[in-house]
């Protein structure tokens, strides 16, 4: 049965690693729904958050193949209920609309914020699951949205042991002394 899985991988920062990781997915024709790469709290280590729709069996195989890459420190996969996850969305709407009192009420309902005002338009920010930001999009649409953009997923696991602890415990590379 197909399901939504969030795969996280931690890697040494290295040009081309993104390519190496995505090859694992494209070879098996697995569509990446969302992909976020960012630096972590540990210097030099990067986090990949990859969302896919597939069977658990396929996901386990790709996670193993990602983890096998020599520069990947660790790769894991989660179901939605095992993580807290968010996407961030930005909405650009005309300023005259924004002054409308409905908008203030909508923003309160959705817990959205106005993050910038420019000549002629404002930028509203909303964070949540795709369904939430999608819903706000639908609500704002009648007022006229000039531009809409949504980020890939970021997630944090509900596990006890913090990954940052794990990352900090990593040994340094060892060399054979001359």
């Amino acid at each position: 049965m197909k399901n939504t899985y969030t795969i996280t991988a931690f890697s040494e920062n290295h040009i081309g690693l993104l390519n190496r990781i995505t090859i694992v997915f494209t070879r098996r024709h697995i569509n990446i729904e969302s992909l976020t790469v960012s630096s972590t709290e540990v210097k030099g280590i990067h986090r990949f958050t990859i969302v896919v729709e597939d069977t658990e069996e396929q996901v386990v195989k790709v996670v193993n193949q990602v983890e096998k890459l020599p520069e990947v420190l660790r790769a894991e996969w989660y179901l939605n209920d095992e993580i807290i996850y968010r996407e961030i969305a930005l909405y650009k709407i005309p300023i005259d609309v924004a002054i409308d009192k409905n908008i203030e009420q909508i923003m309160r309902e959705f817990n959205a914020h106005m993050v910038d005002i420019q000549d002629g338009f404002v930028i509203i920010e909303n964070t949540g699951h795709v369904e939430d930001t999608e819903k706000l999009y639908e609500v704002l649409k009648p007022y006229g949205i000039l531009q809409f953009v949504r980020s890939g997923r970021i997630s944090i696991s509900k596990q006890k042991k913090e990954l940052s602890t794990y990352l900090n415990e990593l040994p340094v590379n060892e060399y054979v002394k001359e």
Binding site: G16, R20, V60, K68, Y175
Partner: protein, 566 residues
């Protein structure tokens, strides 16, 4: 003030290789590579460079050299076409897990990404077929990158790595200080075995009545051949091998039961589906081994031991998946195991084996009349060399017959292109094997088709006087494809029939001796002359045009549906 101790990146590359105990390089020069070749000129005494005739040949030779010598292979090529010519060889080493360090030259870093003359993006091109790769753009990086390359290539599941070095990095200078690498935090090449795994393996084996051991290439790569022998001696568990696992156990071992897979032996294929326990040791259940996966090992519990975690449960679900070096696994289980295989199970292998002997082997190896069969030549050469030569094959019928009829005795004595099935692998690989084992007899079995794919390497064989014994089975066909056309396309022989040159004459043009054998009676004498000749020798043997390789598991069929004849 200029530091007098500084050396160039080009020199650092050679010094780093020497620090890793490398004394042999296969390669081909070119513009972007010139600073490195200039240093080879002055280091000629400590490093031997073998100049091939095409970069693909260098890649295959370096891989075969690695397989027979136990040292990683090293291969050089220039930027652009030199580097792209390597791709087939890199992919071949990748699929067969052979440690080879490929070093390619690149345009100056200033020109990267501009479609400069002879610029190709080798990092992207080689990414799916290397274990690791890296582009060096400054001289200071060189020692550390080479140390990493050796570490990744040779540890864990071995594989090819590629370092792309820009010309300015070769010309730049650095303070040279080389340190080999012992561990890298993102990479665990030696997973620890759990006691629980060994306990479970022992109890699964203990409750089995019909166990079958499948030995793969992992045994050879891990250097675990003596452990395999001890384990088999002790338990009498029938031991079958994959194509790449050939020579992991001597074929005269009493519990060796043959080769698995599409053209493997009758008994181990059929009995895979009778076994109640399969111990897969350093093998990866390739589709050429398993046939139809849904009907594979239908009665068996499976213990799968492999150093590559991604192989576990990839093709076949196992009951006990052990992520470990196969050598460690054997070392841990051997002292504790007391299991003895029931004699009646071993007997079943002998019975089926007798059927194959009668229906296939006798016809192939002792045909008596009619056209020459490649099988009889291979079998006779096996006897004449006492199973102790290093055998190299090309791809096709010649390969399957060489795997079937040479009686391998010693580890790493079959060098063949298993995973990629690369025609043209044979001749360059034979060169590499001969360079790696100068005192061994190296015999190449090749087809007329595959031989012509890399025939230019005869020039290299001549230049270095590599005494390889080249046996071409000339059936005037792309034999293996023709066999499929006969079996599955009603003999519509589309584009598989080709006229061939006079091969001994061609060899002569390269300064290599040879002869043509057309008649069965000439075979023993010709083989003796070839073996006694001190230099390279080429034998062209005209064989039966439409001979087929059997047994065979037809595509899509199950292992126990293997047939002995069409």
């Amino acid at each position: 003030m200029k530091n007098v101790n500084k050396i160039t990146g080009a020199e650092a590359i050679l010094l780093s290789l020497m620090k890793e105990d490398i004394d042999t390089i296969f390669g081909y020069p070119g513009g972007a590579m010139m600073p490195i070749y200039d240093k080879i000129y002055s280091k000629g005494r400590s490093i031997k460079h073998i100049l091939v005739r095409h970069e693909q040949g260098a890649a295959h030779a370096a891989q075969a050299y690695a397989q027979v010598s136990g040292k990683p292979g090293v291969c050089f090529a220039t930027s652009g076409p030199g580097a792209t010519n390597l791709i087939t060889g890199i992919a071949n080493a990748h699929l067969d897990s052979i440690p080879v360090i490929f070093i390619t030259a690149q345009v100056p870093s200033m020109l990267l990404g501009t479609d400069a003359f002879q610029e190709t993006d080798m990092i992207s091109l080689s990414m799916p077929v290397t274990k690791w790769n890296y582009q060096v753009t400054s001289a200071e990086e060189i020692p550390d990158v080479i140390a990493k390359a050796f570490f990744f290539a040779t540890t864990g599941r071995p594989g090819p790595v590629l370092i792309d070095v820009t010309k300015d990095a070769q010309l730049g200078t650095l303070d040279f200080n080389y340190k080999s690498i012992k561990s890298i935090r993102s990479y665990n090449p030696s997973p620890a075995i759990q006691d629980e795994d060994i306990n479970q393996a022992i109890s699964l084996i203990a409750s089995s009545e019909r166990p079958l051991l499948l030995a793969g290439h992992g045994i050879l790569l891990a250097g675990a051949t003596s452990q395999l022998k001890t384990f088999t001696d002790k338990t009498k568990i029938p031991c079958a091998v994959t194509l790449m696992g050939k020579s992991a156990i001597s074929e005269d071992h009493p519990y060796y039961v043959g080769m698995l897979g599409m053209h493997g032996n009758y008994a181990p294929n059929i009995l895979t589906n009778k076994a109640d326990l399969i111990i897969a040791a350093g093998m990866r259940f390739d589709d050429r081994v398993t046939g139809d996966l849904k009907r594979y090992a239908t009665d068996a519990k499976i213990i799968h031991v492999d150093i590559d975690k991604a192989e576990l449960n990839k093709n076949v679900r196992s009951h006990l998946a052990i992520h470990a070096n196969i050598k460690d696994f054997f070392d841990r289980i051997i002292p504790r195991i007391t299991y003895q295989t029931p004699e009646n199970w071993i007997e079943q292998f002998r019975q089926l084996n007798a059927i194959e002997e009668e229906k296939v082997v006798r016809k192939d190896c002792f045909p008596g009349n009619g056209k020459i069969h490649a099988g009889e030549v291979i079998y006779l050469l096996s006897r004449k060399t006492n199973g102790e030569a290093v055998v190299v094959t090309d791809v096709g019928q010649n390969q399957m017959l060489a795997a079937r009829y040479y009686q391998y005795k010693n580890p790493n004595t079959l060098i063949t292109s298993g995973g990629l099935g690369t025609m043209g692998f044979g001749l360059p690989a034979a060169m590499g094997a001969q360079v790696g084992r100068p005192d061994n007899t190296v015999i190449l079995f090749t087809g007329d088709g595959g031989f012509q794919m890399t025939v230019q390497e005869l020039g290299t064989v001549f230049q270095y006087n590599l005494p390889v014994k080249i046996v071409i089975f000339n059936n005037n066909f792309l034999g293996m494809v023709r066999q499929w056309q006969q079996l599955f396309n009603e003999k519509r022989y589309a584009e598989t029939n080709m006229p061939t040159p006079d091969f001994p004459l061609l060899a002569k043009a390269f300064g290599i001796e040879g002869e043509l054998v057309k008649d069965r009676t000439e075979i023993p004498g010709a083989l003796d002359r070839m073996l006694e000749h001190s230099g390279p020798y080429l034998l062209e043997i005209k064989t039966e045009k439409e001979a087929n390789v059997f047994p065979m598991i037809y595509p899509g069929k199950a292992v126990d549906e293997i047939v002995l004849e069409p």
